[in-house]
């Protein structure tokens, strides 16, 4: 699926580079550097070695037998939770930190919601001896405390962002404001398939290892591809990685699951593709949760990694082209799924990934007897404070 984006960074009508003029040359240089990075056999070899020996790739695909028996769906889990630092985020940060060094920059900044991308960035910054600042909404700092401690322990500076809803979107704004000042020596290590071109394509490419590995593993394990490939969608990086192997494949339905939150009232969810309309935020044209004036709406999800009012432009394109179905899973369904997988398989899934599982459980009839590949994008240890609170543990 290398047909998108086009040369200007557009996925159909979506994408683009809606940033301050000050950042334009940095984006053009990044694009050029990334193309050279892709062509460089040496860099690709180094990345492959690090993916294997440092990150722990390939991650397995695991047939969740007891979970399958309980739900009546044949569920296979792509175990990104087993990757170093506990989520798929490291695929991207490892790639981008090598790219940062390749460009001769010595400082990275990042935004983070649940803290997984922040931890993955702090990790690779430590690995490379680079300076690292992570912006995190103050609300997320509170509810994802374990990850904040990890980032600090890894040597990163964590800046709590006290603006707006004090969540992921506000962290991205703060990171963009840092970058406009520091652009000369700093790389903005974007954590999802969001933002201005070329970020969405860089992140997708580094995450596509999820899809390419899983595709081969499914065939080895079951003799054929899955009927469905399912992943949660906040910004949409693990989904973009998984779908990269299956989009346009007539035998496999791709399904992205957004956070339905408490309800579909404004401010109570973050189901951007379900409820939003096209708009421009943080560098790209994409579906956006906004009011009639164009103000971006507050969002909610029990999972701190999904509550983003926009979505990667590639997903907006897939939606409009009917290449991927986008569905939702609410807070309660996600929590139930988290408990169920934990008790039946001994795997505590991240609340983000729990949305993919919760969607399947809530729609078990539709998927009865189907072979479903789920991206288990991260582990749930970081969610213990939320789980304690929500489930009264």
């Amino acid at each position: 699926m290398s047909i998108v984006p086009d040369k200007r960074g557009y996925y159909g009508m979506f994408g683009g580079r809606f940033v301050a003029e000050t950042l334009v040359n940095a984006l053009l240089e990044l694009e050029e550097a990334y193309n050279a990075f892709k062509q460089s056999a040496g860099m690709q070899r180094e990345l492959a070695v690090m993916m294997e020996r440092y990150a722990g790739r390939p991650t397995p695909v695991y047939y969740a037998e007891r979970f399958s028996r309980e739900t009546g769906i044949e569920v296979y889990l792509k175990r990104e939770d087993l990757l170093h630092t506990g989520a798929h985020k490291l695929n991207n940060t490892l790639g981008q930190i090598l790219l940062t060094r390749f460009m001769g920059k010595k400082r990275v900044i990042a935004e983070t919601g649940a803290g997984q991308h922040g931890v993955a960035t702090a990790t690779v910054a430590a690995l490379m001896g680079m300076e690292c600042t992570v912006y995190m909404g103050a609300l997320d700092v509170e509810r994802q405390a374990p990850n904040v401690k990890r980032m600090k322990f890894l040597g990163a500076e964590v800046v709590p962002v006290e603006r707006g809803g004090r969540v992921l979107k506000d962290a991205v704004n703060a990171a963009m404001k840092d970058w406009v000042k520091s652009v000369k020596g700093t790389h903005y290590l974007v954590g999802s398939v969001i933002g201005a071109h070329p970020f969405p394509v860089i992140v997708r490419d580094f995450q596509s290892v999820i899809g390419s590995e899983a595709k081969e593993q499914m065939v080895k394990l079951t003799g054929a591809g899955p009927d469905c490939a399912v992943a949660c969608v906040g910004g949409g990086s693990n989904a973009a990685g998984l779908f990269s192997a299956y989009v346009g494949d007539p035998d496999t339905r791709c399904i992205g699951v957004e956070a339905g939150g408490r309800s579909f009232e404004p401010g109570q969810h973050s189901a951007t593709l379900h409820c939003g309309e096209p708009g421009i935020l943080q560098g790209c044209l994409t579906y956006l949760l906004q009011d009639s004036e164009g103000q971006v709406l507050p969002v909610h999800s029990v999972s701190a990694g999904l509550d983003y009012p926009a979505v990667g432009p590639e997903h907006s394109y897939y939606k409009n082209e009917n290449l991927v179905e986008y569905r939702t899973c609410n807070d309660r369904e996600a929590l139930d799924a988290c408990v169920m997988l934990t008790r039946l398989e001994g795997i505590i899934p991240a609340l983000e990934s729990s949305h993919a599982l919760g969607f399947l459980m809530a729609n078990a009839g539709e998927f009865a007897g189907k072979k479903v590949l789920v991206s288990l994008s991260g582990r749930g240890d970081k969610d213990m404070p939320i789980l304690e609170k929500e489930l009264g543990l």
Partner: protein, 253 residues
Amino acid sequence: MRGYNGLYLVGNYPDPDTFVRAAVTGLRYFDFLEIGIPFSDPVADGPVITDAIETMVEKGLRLDELLESVSVIRRGVSRDKKLYFMTYSNMVYRRGMEKFGKMCRDNGVQGVIIPDIPRLESAAFREAFNSNGVEFIQFATPENRKEQITEVAEDAEGFLYFVSIRGTTGSSLTLDEDTKEKITAARKASSVPVVLGFGIRDAATANLALENADGFIIGTRIIELLNNGGITDVENFYRDLAEGLEQAGIQQP
């Protein structure tokens, strides 16, 4: 005042009456007014203006209400004073570029400044505005290469907004030699004034801007004065600024 200078105010901040008065008295000294249409995610703005914008977004300011103030200002100042909207791309995209352009024309607004639309994304916006006789203001920055600066200066309309620093509004102003050279190149290529924005907050920095460019835009300082002292302080500031610049002008050889 010497030069071709602009005043930035956040639309209807802190309230419609104060906003209109700050605008009308300001335009006795300044040549144009930038009216900020509040947007929830103002990535080009520093903390002071972001706070003011967030206040207005929380109050639920609607564009229609702001247009009422705009028409009072338009009637209260002479025709040669120009009004511009400054806002973020989604506020224009949401309304529709064409409709937004028409709205500007119908309300006596000369043009639009959108800090998150760089030149390479500007074509559709510019076309929609121009077809309504409305200007699309372009930016030049120290990060641009000389040939990019010449290119943008050559087809700038209204004025060329030169972002004097790397950063957000309200940062402090310093002009290195490289930036000064780029400003000079812009002035050479441009048929419209090259105006410095970001970091100008008093007579000294305004004078520095006028030594290097055709004008300056001042914003953050006005919002600070509105917050701390109110409209009287703002009006005193206008007068002191004009006097300070006049004296600096006399002292110059």
